[in-house]
Assembly symmetry: C2
Homo-oligomer: 549 residues x 2
């Protein structure tokens, strides 16, 4: 006998496998209890806003039936979803307020239909119809946006590219490129490439639940971006369908053909068109040549100094290059049960003290002599900054668990903890000040954990990635978050940080964009949008949107 | 007693110091005589179109006197030039047909005035006035464009940035950047940086007579771009004055702030606005760590194979990385008097034969262990392709004479030789075919020297740079060139080459742009131009121009 599973909000808001629930270990619980002051070890707290009810979408489908009929004729009934659960699933990404709303059993930005086109010609037809009928389209990959990039405030079509437009098109082993459809997910693309002896080198934190098209649309960065580059450095060409037609360019290693309009689609977050395919760089996959190291510093400033000296040292680039500030290091040590161990005591004895020490993770790929040189150089540079190599095991472990942390968000939110991240990029000259002032802002909330790492490193600056865990105001969790988030963004901007290094703008950061880039650049962005999308149907309300939705 | 020097066409068309004349050595003359079939050793040929007359510009200044008066009030009389010679000097760049026209004593695209603003506020005022009065502006650095990027077919203002807007604004030794005004020339910028222990790493062939603003406007590349990147990889931020106002961005190592409009000014060739300043990356200048090598291969295919294997080898990047095809190698050997020497005979004896062998030049900068590793890897990779290291001297010599070849153009043209270059970029998969077919096209002209090198190298492809020397049809030299050039561009495009890797489009390649990038991209370019420059005053006729002027 078949059991029909209840389709809940919880299944939508969970990261990864909707049925998987992460259970916090005792070490994690103990750390939370100590740092955030919430009793989780002895007391069995009730789950905060569990979202276990069956999904009901209040806003009914508002598209006229004749439109639905036409779309059905284009893609076939099997490629259109209309259930409340499916509409809710395609209504939002993973921004904190979106997760809160799902826990509160609210679906505020549902599409009318979820359509999965079979091929590019259907994408073209759907856009033409939507443009004619002024129906909004939100192009979607695996919806891991953390900046409210997904959603249709006034309804429309969620255009799902993952069901059919997910194929490898061409592997060019001479020029080292792969051409694939935008809906292919990270693991499928990487698996194909690894089998052929290559890697795409792009591993965002959302890797398992992200797509090629999403990487490009959000201008993402992978964990190994210091060596392999951000997605804008990796994409060679792309194809995008827009209300005014198809945009497609040829691949060149570089060119000078006037002002290049194709990069406009990188970082456009679906507001200019639907990216259907792209050609990206690939590299030889030589895991046996990989060299890993982990170095501990006495404080974050020393780790930063070493990182800066390395990246400006002109001796080649590591691929993974990451430092955690003292609090992130402390939390990691506690959560992994390292604190108080024999090794910990040994480190403390030689001056690497809790609440001050800072970890650096390094992984270098490529030719084996090159990987040795870069690792050795980083180690010797680090020594000058008081760094001490603690072997390659912590980094190997980090690599093996690299996509796990996302799974901890739900159990932490279950405890009523505001659990979120924010990231920015900044020039080296402003980095220390930004870190200090943003940290001070976050720590101004009582009982708040504020962890920071630098994970994308450049000669001229780096990103800063903050994670915070803080008891929420359970009576008004959304308002509590919004107020805190607004101050946080303002603090970043007033300390010369960018609005985002690799998450994009979406609707979460759009209210700050005009001020950030200036009136003229903003108007030019609007002008470009008006040319490509004259009826404003492409992911409306995202990126270019001065009101805070 | 002062002698008033006659101001001739010749002084304008000469490369470098207008009074300097390169004299061809006997080895060069002998090579020309043998390869092009023109008797230059024994016979004293009359100079072909010497351009020694005093400059007279037929088109008189057409701006109403009240406008001239207003401009004079803005910048002062000492910053406005109106003589025929000055107008002719600022009327064109160094495209072959422009040089021919000067030799024919024609000035077809003169400005009415040459204005040198004192500061940015004057740039702003001048653009405002020109926009109001619909007067064209051609922003100018040192006018080394080889794609007809300079010129005012219907008159207007040549806006010279080199006289006053040539200062260093700020050196940031923490973030490794320098901010400078656009009119600073290459040597001045590099000298400043070297004194502080840095390098800009950007050395285009025109280095001595090029400016920061020109590098950016033309999307240029330097001889060390394989290591340091093209200018679009080096620029972090810029400031541009346009008819609708000022565009300026902040420097970030990378960011994801929606679709980024500021890169549109890179490669816009003055058609969107006037770049007045930019912040670019700098690197530590460590000439003692530099490692040079020169390797000879039995043929160009082997050199290509080795170059591709090196750049895809993931062992770091050389900075200068350059191979010459068999004909360029042959001509260099002959012109330098190497052919027939003892060393030549030794090389021939072990299989490196004339008319087949191919040279590779390498220079690596940075950390000393890194430079050793990269040089060693290139040498060992080259061995697999039959390459033989012939020491570092040829590369050192090449570096010391790196900017000389431009001076040979005039004496060659004096002989009635069509002497020009064209460059493109192409993916590795198409590179061999493009080289072969373009070469075949060029060699279809009787008695024509066709030399090719690859000098900007990427994991996914490279540029190809062709130089040709060919007896011109002296009865119709311009028509002869135009017909040949058109077929040449068509051949490049039909072999999957880009319109340009680093020279840009100008008016010389603009007729091909729409077909190359497609109708929609072209219309979007036009749309962007209309937003920023609604009256079409910025360098009109360049880049976006379907007719061949």
């Amino acid at each position: 006998m078949k059991t029909l599973l209840k389709k809940t909000y919880r299944q939508i808001l969970n990261w990864g496998d909707p049925n998987y629930q992460e259970v916090l270990s005792d070490d994690v619980k103990k750390t939370i209890q100590e740092l955030v002051g919430i009793p989780v070890l002895e007391v069995n707290l009730p789950t905060f806003l569990p979202g276990e009810k069956e999904v009901v979408v209040d806003r009914k489908i508002q598209l006229p039936p004749k439109y639905v009929k036409e779309f059905t004729e284009i893609v076939g009934a099997e490629n259109i979803k209309t259930s409340d659960f499916d509409r809710a699933k395609h209504a939002a990404g993973k921004f904190y307020s979106e997760l809160l709303e799902l826990r509160q059993e609210k679906v505020t930005t549902p599409p009318d239909l979820v359509i999965s086109p079979n091929d590019e010609s259907q994408v073209e037809l759907i856009i033409q119809k939507c443009n004619e009928w002024k129906i909004a389209i939100c192009p979607q990959g695996l919806r891991s946006s953390v900046t409210k990039g997904i959603g249709l405030p006034d309804g429309g079509i969620a255009l799902d590219l993952t069901k059919h437009l997910n194929q490898i098109i061409h592997l060019d082993e001479e020029s080292l490129t792969v051409t694939a459809q935008a809906g292919i997910n990270g693991p499928a693309l990487e698996k194909f490439l690894n089998q052929k002896g290559y890697t795409c080198g792009h591993f965002p934190q959302s890797f398992e639940f992200s797509t090629l098209g999403g990487w490009i649309a959000a201008k993402g960065a992978g964990q190994c971006s210091t060596g392999y580059g951000k997605i804008e450095d990796i994409v060679l060409s792309l194809k995008a369908f827009t209300p005014i037609g198809i945009f497609e360019n040829e691949s060149y290693p570089k060119a000078a053909q006037g002002w290049d309009v194709m990069p406009l689609f990188i970082g456009a977050e679906g507001t200019l068109g639907v990216i259907t395919q792209a050609t990206i760089k690939i590299r030889k996959f030589e895991p046996n040549n990989r060299r890993n190291a982990c170095i501990i510093f006495k404080d974050f400033e020393s780790a930063q100094g070493s990182m800066q000296a390395c990246i400006q040292g002109q001796f080649g680039l590591p691929h993974l290059f990451r430092i955690s500030d003292h609090e992130e290091t402390e939390v990691a040590f506690r959560m992994k049960g390292f604190e108080g161990s024999f090794s910990d005591k040994a480190l403390q004895a030689i001056g690497y003290k809790p609440n001050s020490r800072s970890l650096m993770f390094i992984s270098v790929e490529g030719d084996k002599d090159y990987t040795s040189l870069v690792i050795d150089k980083i180690k010797s540079t680090s020594k000058k900054f008081g760094g001490r190599s603690i072997g390659s095991r912590p980094t190997k472990k980090w690599l093996s668990q690299r996509f796990h942390s996302a799974y901890m968000r739900e159990p932490l939110m279950d405890l009523g903890l505001m659990t979120d991240t924010i990231e920015t990029s900044v020039m080296w000259k402003d980095l220390k000040k930004l870190w200090k002032n943003v940290r001070t802002y976050i720590k101004s909330r009582p009982n708040t954990v504020c962890m920071c790492h630098i994970s994308h490193v450049y000669e001229n600056g780096a990103n800063l990635y903050f994670t915070f865990i803080s008891p929420t105001d359970k009576s008004a969790p959304l308002e509590d978050y919004q107020q805190f988030h607004e101050g946080l963004v303002n603090t970043i901007l007033s300390n010369n940080g960018s609005l985002s290094h690799h998450h994009g703008i979406g609707r979460a950061l759009s209210p700050w964009l005009k001020e950030k880039i200036g009136e003229n650049s903003y108007q030019l962005m609007q002008g470009i949008k008006s040319i490509i999308d004259p009826n404003g149907i492409m992911n409306p309300g995202s990126v270019i949107n001065e009101s805070n939705k």
